[in-house]
């Protein structure tokens, strides 16, 4: 017997999400069991099972942290667009006068 991790997806627009796990002898049985354990109220329209032994992760997950400043990867870094627009429009007027 093996642990299978269970993933379900509500609809076509959504990603699969982890929702639990089951113990089963193989993937066929895992599907049969997961359906009733996790989708019996129609919580999803799509179902995956993956053997836990086929799932891998970093032994030290702190490598996933952003250690240094990466603000330029986020839209919030460009929040002052209104102010910059006004400044650019001022510059245009200034050039038109001169």
């Amino acid at each position: 017997m093996e642990v299978f991790e269970v993933f379900r997806r509500a609809g076509h627009r959504d990603p699969f999400e982890h929702c639990g796990n089951v113990i089963a002898p193989d993937s066929d049985m895992a599907l049969l069991l997961a359906k009733e354990c996790f989708l019996r109220r129609q919580e999803g329209q799509h179902l995956w099972v993956v053997a836990r032994s086929d799932i891998h992760s970093f032994s030290d997950e702190s490598v996933l942290e952003l250690a240094a400043d990466k603000s330029y990867r986020f839209a919030s870094a460009y929040r002052d667009v209104m102010h910059k627009r006004e400044r650019a429009h001022d510059r245009v007027r200034e050039l038109q006068v001169s």
Binding site: S62, V63, A67, A68, D69
Partner: protein, 277 residues
């Protein structure tokens, strides 16, 4: 801030900037699409580290860009290995692996500095560098233990990269002052010995010939034999350890490769003095 502090931090920043610039040249061209994305992050990390180092020594106006892009080419203090063109993925990997391990040894020592701002920064940078080491180690292993052509290419690239890696531990300008002032914890020659010890055993473990003792770079010297083993071309073995050149980068002695990089990197900045972007 002492002159020695400024000199040492400039060299650290320049290494990161120039190597980050080279790494970023792969963006859009790396030999595997997923790797393109991963390597672009490493390039950004190095440029970000450069920016942080420069900010430690930037003047009251905090103009990091004037330091990064506004100096003449002979004012850069990066090690020569950083300015070499990417050439191909093999050289890029060899340099990435050597540099990030050298940087690990260097920053481990620097983490003991008595300068609080430098210490904080180095600790932060080291957290990000762990991914670089995992990435570099994985790739080296995969390529060095891979098919014959991969092994032969990485062996040649390693030979030429390794010959210049010692330049990363060429003493900094004003290093003696820095040691006397007490904030630079370990002298470069000591770190260089640590690096060589690490490299000798790491290359040996990978089955690469880099540390077995060769003098000059000649990428074609290692060829794959019919059995698939890498054999050295005749006469390439030397008695002395392989890291030779001191480089000169720490004293501002660079190659035409930096000149070319500098023109590409700084012209737009220099031609628009006072402009903001």
């Amino acid at each position: 801030m002492s002159r020695a502090f400024e000199a040492v931090v400039t060299a650290l920043a320049d290494d990161e900037l120039i190597l980050g610039h080279r790494h970023s040249e792969w963006t859009g061209y790396a030999p595997h699409i997923e790797e393109d994305v991963a390597f672009a992050s490493i390039a950004q990390d190095e440029i970000g580290h450069a920016s942080s180092y420069y900010s430690l020594i930037a003047g009251a106006g905090h103009d990091v860009d004037a330091l990064a892009l506004g100096r003449p080419a002979d004012a850069y203090r990066n090690a020569v290995i950083c300015e070499r063109p990417n050439t191909d993925w093999a050289f890029t990997l060899a340099r990435h692996w050597l540099y990030d391990h050298a940087d690990d040894i260097r920053s481990q020592a620097l983490e003991q500095t008595s300068e609080p701002k430098l210490r904080q920064l180095v600790t932060k940078i080291r957290r990000e560098e762990r991914y670089h080491l995992l990435h570099a180690d994985y790739w080296m292993k995969r390529v060095a233990q891979g098919p014959v052509e991969a092994r032969s290419r990485i062996a040649s690239a390693m030979a030429s990269a390794f010959a210049e890696a010692g330049g990363l531990f060429e003493p900094f300008e004003l290093e003696q002052e820095a040691l006397e002032e007490g904030w630079l914890p370990v002298a470069s020659p000591v770190l260089r010995t640590r690096f060589l010890e690490w490299a000798t055993s790491a290359l040996d473990e990978l089955g690469l010939p880099g540390a077995t003792g060769r003098e000059e770079t000649a990428p074609s010297e290692f060829v794959a034999s019919s059995s698939g083993d890498l054999i050295a071309g005749e006469g390439s073995l030397a008695k002395e350890p392989a890291v030779v050149a001191e480089g000169g980068g720490r004293r501002g002695r660079h190659t035409d490769d930096l000149r070319e990089l500098w023109i590409a990197m700084t012209t737009q900045y220099r031609e628009n003095e006072g402009a903001t972007w």
